[in-house]
Symmetry: C2
Amino acid sequence: MQFQVSKELIQQVKHLIKTEEDVNLRDMLNEIHFADVAEIISELNLSQATYLIKLLDSEKTSEALMELEEDFRERILENLSVKEIAEELEEMDTDDAADIVAELPDERAEKVIAEIEDEKRAEDIKELLTYDEDTAGGLMAKELVKVKETWTVAGCVREMRRQAENVTRVHSIYVVDKEEKLKGRLSLKDLLTASAKTHISEVYIPKVDYVDVDTEGEEVARIMQKYDLEAIPVVDHDGVLLGRVTIDDIVDFIKDEAEKDYQLAAGISQDVEADDNVWELTRARLPWLILGLFGGLGSVFIMEGFEEALNKYKELFFFTPLIAAMAGNVGVQSSAIIVQGLANDNVKGSLLTRLLKEISLSLISGVTLGILVIVFGFITKMEINFSLTIAISMLCVIIVAALIGTFVPIILNKKGIDPAIATGPFITTSNDIFGIFLFFYIAKIILGF
Amino acid sequence: MQFQVSKELIQQVKHLIKTEEDVNLRDMLNEIHFADVAEIISELNLSQATYLIKLLDSEKTSEALMELEEDFRERILENLSVKEIAEELEEMDTDDAADIVAELPDERAEKVIAEIEDEKRAEDIKELLTYDEDTAGGLMAKELVKVKETWTVAGCVREMRRQAENVTRVHSIYVVDKEEKLKGRLSLKDLLTASAKTHISEVYIPKVDYVDVDTEGEEVARIMQKYDLEAIPVVDHDGVLLGRVTIDDIVDFIKDEAEKDYQLAAGISQDVEADDNVWELTRARLPWLILGLFGGLGSVFIMEGFEEALNKYKELFFFTPLIAAMAGNVGVQSSAIIVQGLANDNVKGSLLTRLLKEISLSLISGVTLGILVIVFGFITKMEINFSLTIAISMLCVIIVAALIGTFVPIILNKKGIDPAIATGPFITTSNDIFGIFLFFYIAKIILGF
């Protein structure tokens, strides 16, 4: 891969737009891959971007449009006429076209669909719009190559050539019966190696993985990954072949899911990006900070309850950030491991073995950290019974934090709630409160204030 | 997708292994997809798993072996003879075979390679072992279909049939010159639609995306995603075609990378799983906890420095966990957004605009949270100048925490260090220290103790 979108190239494009050198612009950009054109467009302002989209062939711009950030694309589409949008849609795969239509205001969407010349395509897009976005139906495209089981290989090759025109990548050829029900599949390789007069029914592979149109996107991704599939056919409740989901959409889906989990773990509750505006970012971030605030105010109350310790053991209060940090860090570690384990389905064994494992884990860490505290106490000339108290209560806090971090996600998951929400600020906040209370409580027992 | 590995099925398999009903076992498992066989194997103990691997055809078990957890696979391989391992390798794609060999002790690896009957394959595996795991060379397989540009379509189809036997999915046919240098590609679709006597040089697409054998895995993944590729050819420095990377490996790669980032953000420094042993988990978790401990001990020193405030404003000390939590949460949010933005290459604009954005973001959040603190103070009858002090110093802490969270990853990235290490415990620990110091310092200025 040698091509790189350079700053000079972007400057050049901007200049050509300004001087309206349409022929040069078209010549230059026609040589460039649509994904790079999208990268260039994303560096332009709205009017420059609109100018380019209107100028270039829909064949190129339709694919480039799909690669742009949703917000920017929506603003560009606002600047295009209903007819111009319909032209873009004519060039797209139906799944992408349906995604675009879904982003338009309802009234405009209807007008755009009415402008699509290919009636079959308009019907397909309307059908795709009826499925929930996060299901196999919402992910699939209508484009595929299908043949009847009664055909010969020669007839099949003929028909396939015709159908394949609209299909970017063939992957598999699906075999259907006369009621359009999915019977099996054929690979292009099989077709190339079979003799022309053979009937499809003799050569096709009757075992074919498929998903129901209602299957959740996550499950589709899991199946395609598990079985290393590059495309999977989608059928309705009667087994009629409706479309297929391809791996490129699943790659995007997997990335989006991973980013969502990552953001949840960091206390960001909506899908935002570094370049979103301040308001969007605040909406995604502030709720978790408010949760943290309530947690913090809760610990103010707890410490007020142990105020009498201030007279004899004021240093205890100097250790609260340490205890809170430990409780938070241990909790986040435990919850992250469990959340990932649940997602990958590799949390095996009984709850009791998991309990014992977490306890031994926290014992090892807790004792090590406790020894470090005692060494610190020795160096800074703390009373030995005081540094022992800190070490012991910290050990208890670590064990409890690990248990909360482990079992809250497991319980949520059992109740059918996404365990990823119980990572990050949720765990740190609840562990702060529990941790600080436990710390003072155990210290009180040992030191007796 | 209807098939599910049920508990009953696993019980049945265990029973058949115990009673050594080999014929029944073979019949039953031959019907099942290798990915499901892998799922079954992962539920067995070591001797049961070894029994199954030895019993079933290498054609099935070789693929199932690849799906197992690395640790479990290594233990199974220890129980197999050099010859048995070589038989498994004969059935695998070369990239998988090389991965397996790389997991073996050196001496055993050599013996296994010597046992491989197909000399070409043994050579290929040895070649793949020379590349760094995380590069295009380490990800690629040697299996692909290539044709010479001088051939006719008919000759090409003949040759392709021969080569395609060893290639699970053809994707593209690569066109090379007589020195084996990559010239372009052909799709199976093109081959089906061209007439038999045409020369390849007339029909092939000379524009082909490729990567150099040294290209980093992350870059390969980025290119394949950006250009929606399902396979990409890999060439050496002279442009000679060496192999190809397919999308299924990239899907795994993307997932692994996402999991690694997620774990780093949670303070887990090695690739561990919920089912790893206590020792492995401790090694991945303890270093970050020790970092947190030092941070916490640092804040003990800071608070000792402000000890005189205890007499007049002891409540200040009750607010330290709140301040630490806020500094931590804000820092983690900011760093997560920036780390993701850097990974997706959408952190645009100058450092100054980013600075202004972070400041306005934290002003909005900080003022909102400050008002809540003042309301809290009003309800709990705190002195108004005291709750104002808390609110103002918290606001400053939030701004500084957001700036640290934003700019530390940016600076690391500029220095070529993975910014993902600056999320999670790293940011919370440093923000705890800065936050607590700032809090007391500002409070001292306002309240004058």
